[in-house]
């Protein structure tokens, strides 16, 4: 379940279809405003770079102007998203006679909660089969599933000792055991409406549609949404905008997928990965064999190694020639076995000759005849003197076409990230499949009810998104159109905001306490460029959000800056240095807390103290040292804005869970 955007306000619009003419007019005005805002933004940032960077304090001036540039680029990507943001017309008539599997993924959620969802899934009116995908392998849940008459899937023996790939692995495991043409994926807490399939299956009458995503809505969130749980801007205008560019994302739950598309993804991925792995490993093995040959002192070893080297060369040439890899690797394996038996036969002949010459007539050791089985036994991979040579072992490993390091050879759901959903839809799009965002709430779930759990969830989304950006950057992914690339990149880019926020906090603190001025002018040239841009920017959000509140989302985007920074740093360490991510499943219940979790927001507290001290220092400097008044005023205004934004955390740490008063839908 991913909410890639960190803009998460509170109330959803009712699901009514807009009239066409009014919608066109709205979009025209919105586009006009986007152009205006970006022109003002461009004007401001160009002036900043060319005419107002205080190079004498470059160590803060440059980070500030870079942060501002980051924000303008972010705004440009947002503008592009909104350019095509419009509601789809009524959903097409559902397909007739389609087969559907409903997957409910669970790991450690309470059995009751899973069963409530399973019962609601059973009540979906379109014919289907319901499956509980229990990654926790709980016998209690297995029994309950049987009583309810729904399918139950858990990991089999083939997963022992293999990477489990969390939810992606859970889904892949179920995909190979089920048969429906379409798959509705639901998180354990997402209770579906009976008509969910009727409303979504119609889109698949277009043969190229692989995904229909619907919004994720949480029914345990009060109107004030203290934790910023709802994401109506994302599951509304933003996804509609991405949809307009042919890039609506898969968000892990409340979505219907086409099995054929997923399997195709798995197959193509398998072939590419296997070809790459076999060639790469064979080349490594060739190098290892050559190095060992140079060191080998005895003739038999050298000869065995030189034969191995020749066999590898032949195999590589055959693969380059287009011969099927399973065939080539099997032949190579057989050659290695033959080398072994030759070596063993030679050894045995030598032993027999030695024994003969010593006068043991009846030793029975022979390399031929019925004793051939002795050769076979001694030349098996476990006992063979040739296979004992490390470079030969490397060669044997190179012949693996079965993805032995994985439980399954074919992995339809992408496993490169802890947010498998975004990575999977990106690959679907790259393979030419289409996606749809259907903006109607058809399932309701539970949001975390404590700041701790909420932050865990956001950390995972951010880490996963940054992981995908670093491992499979959409800007360079073949098969995606440029708008699609930018739509994926836009979400990734927004997760880099933590660094910009840090600079936005440091800059006023440095000015107010030490008089360090990163901008050469706080006079008219600054205001004339900055203020119109800022006003246009805020209004753009108002217009684009169609009356949805966006303030809570803006607050969390800023207030959680240490979390975003941590996500970027840990994801980079994971991708480049293989450091493990502190991965956690977001708890769905029992997430309330009775303590005030100040530890969780320690960095924010430091920032708040610094900002308050800076504001006081600024006032003192103004009156005592007669520092520059306009600059001081601008920076105090800036500090106040930062403090108001971060005040969201006061409500968050004091929040004690949902008590019943619902936000409207």
């Amino acid at each position: 379940m991913t909410t890639p955007s960190v803009l998460t306000p509170t109330v959803l619009t009712p699901s009514v279809l807009p009239d066409e003419a009014r919608e066109n007019k709205r979009l025209f005005l919105l586009r006009l405003w986007i152009v205006l805002t970006l022109l003002l933004g461009g004007n401001y940032v160009v002036w900043r770079w060319l005419a107002s960077v205080n190079w004498s304090v470059w160590w803060i001036s440059v980070p500030l102007v870079v942060a501002e540039t980051y924000s303008v680029v972010d705004l440009a990507l947002f503008g592009m998203t909104m350019w095509r943001s419009r509601r789809r017309l009524a959903a097409p008539e559902p397909l007739e006679g389609a087969t559907v599997d409903v997957f409910i993924t669970t790991y450690n959620e309470p059995v009751d909660l899973v069963l409530t969802t399973a019962q609601a899934a059973e009540n979906i009116t379109y014919p289907h089969r319901t499956w509980i995908l229990d990654d926790g392998d709980r016998s209690e849940l297995r029994d309950a599933a049987e009583t309810l008459g729904v399918g139950y899937v858990t990991r089999g023996l083939e997963w022992a000792g293999k990477p489990r790939h969390a939810k992606a692995g859970n889904l892949n495991n179920a995909l190979v055991q089920t048969t429906g043409e379409y798959i509705l994926v639901l998180d354990a807490d997402m209770v579906p409406e009976p008509q969910i399939l009727h409303r979504t299956l119609g889109y698949f009458s277009d043969d190229k549609v692989a995904l229909v995503q619907t919004p994720q809505y949480f029914n345990n969130v009060p109107r004030s949404d203290p934790l910023g749980s709802q994401a109506p801007l994302f599951y509304g205008p933003i996804q509609e905008g991405k949809d307009g560019w042919g890039a609506a994302f898969f968000c892990g739950s409340n979505a219907v997928l086409r099995r054929e598309a997923l399997m195709e993804l798995g197959i193509l991925g398998y072939v590419t990965a296997t070809e790459k792995a076999v060639i790469g490993r064979l080349k490594d093995a060739r190098g290892a064999v050559r190095r060992a040959m140079r060191r080998a002192s005895d003739a038999p070893t050298r000869s065995a190694l030189s034969d191995t080297s020749r066999a590898i060369a032949v195999a590589l040439a055959q693969i380059a020639n287009g011969e099927p890899i399973a065939e080539v690797t099997y032949v190579l394996q057989s050659k290695l076995t033959r080398l072994s038996s030759e070596a063993v036969s030679n050894d045995l002949a030598q032993i027999a000759a030695d024994l003969d010459s010593l006068g043991f007539a009846d030793h029975g050791i022979s390399a031929e005849g019925e004793r051939g089985e002795l050769v076979a036994l001694l030349s098996s991979a476990q006992l063979s003197p040739v296979h004992e040579l490390p470079p030969v072992q490397t060669t044997v490993r190179a012949t693996d076409v079965a993805r032995s390091e994985e439980a399954l050879a074919v992995l339809p759901m992408a496993t490169i990230s802890v947010t498998e959903d975004m990575a999977t839809s990106m690959r679907l799009h790259a393979n030419g499949w289409k996606s749809v965002f259907h903006n109607e709430i058809l399932a309701e779930g539970l949001a975390p009810e404590g700041l701790d759990a909420s932050m865990t969830q956001r950390l995972r989304w951010a880490q996963g998104t940054v992981q995908v950006m670093l491992k499979e950057n959409p800007l360079f992914l073949r098969g995606l159109s440029w708008p699609q690339r930018l739509m994926y990149f836009s979400t990734m880019w927004s997760y880099l905001s933590g660094f910009a926020t840090l600079v936005y906090i440091l800059a006023p603190v440095l000015f107010l306490t030490a008089g360090v001025l990163p901008v050469t002018s706080y006079a008219a040239p600054f205001f004339l460029r900055f203020l119109p841009f800022m006003v246009a920017n805020q209004l753009l959000f108002v217009i684009a959000s169609r009356g949805l509140p966006t303030w809570r989302g803006q607050q969390y985007t800023m207030a959680l800056f240490p979390l975003w920074i941590r996500a970027c740093v840990s994801a980079a360490a994971n991708v480049f240095a293989g450091a493990p991510l502190s991965f956690a499943v977001t708890p769905k219940s029992g997430t309330r807390t009775e303590r005030v979790e100040l530890r969780k927001v320690a960095w924010q507290l430091v920032a708040v103290v610094a900002l308050v001290v800076a504001a006081i220092a600024g006032v003192v400097r103004l009156f005592v040292l007669h520092s520059e008044p306009i600059g001081t005023l601008v920076n105090i205004g800036w500090v106040v804005f930062d403090l108001v934004t971060m005040s969201v955390l006061v409500g968050a740490v004091r929040y004690r869970g949902f008590s019943g008063e619902k936000g409207s839908r």
């Binding site: 190979v176 055991q177 089920t178 048969t179 429906g180 043409e181 099995r259 054929e260 399997m263 195709e264 798995g266 197959i267 193509l268 398998y270 072939v271 590419t272 296997t274 070809e275 287009g322 011969e323 099927p324 890899i325 399973a326 065939e327 099997y330 032949v331 057989s334 693996d400 076409v401 079965a402 993805r403 032995s404 399954l408 050879a409 074919v410």
Partner: protein, 111 residues
Amino acid sequence: MTSFQVDEVRAGVSVIRVEGRLNMVAAPELRDVVAQAVASGRTRLVVDLSGVEFMDSSGLGALIGALKTTRQAGGDLRIASPGEQVTMVLQLSNVDRILKPYRSSDDAFTD
């Protein structure tokens, strides 16, 4: 309905003849048939595709799963006599880069 017939043609080599559609419905069945064969020691398998009129990605997935199962048991999986549609699917999916389609199940294990 899709049917699977397993015959041991000679020592260590068994042929699985698939009749019908090798699609998402039949894929888990093929997976089970292969698992049973390998469990009973038949690790060198030929999947005879001459009777398959239609194959999809799930069918391909089952073939690759079968390759994994047999290789891990020290054997191998070969495919034989694909028809026109099956050959096209093998090419489009690039699976022909991995598996070689033999002309007949007799040719599949000459080594």
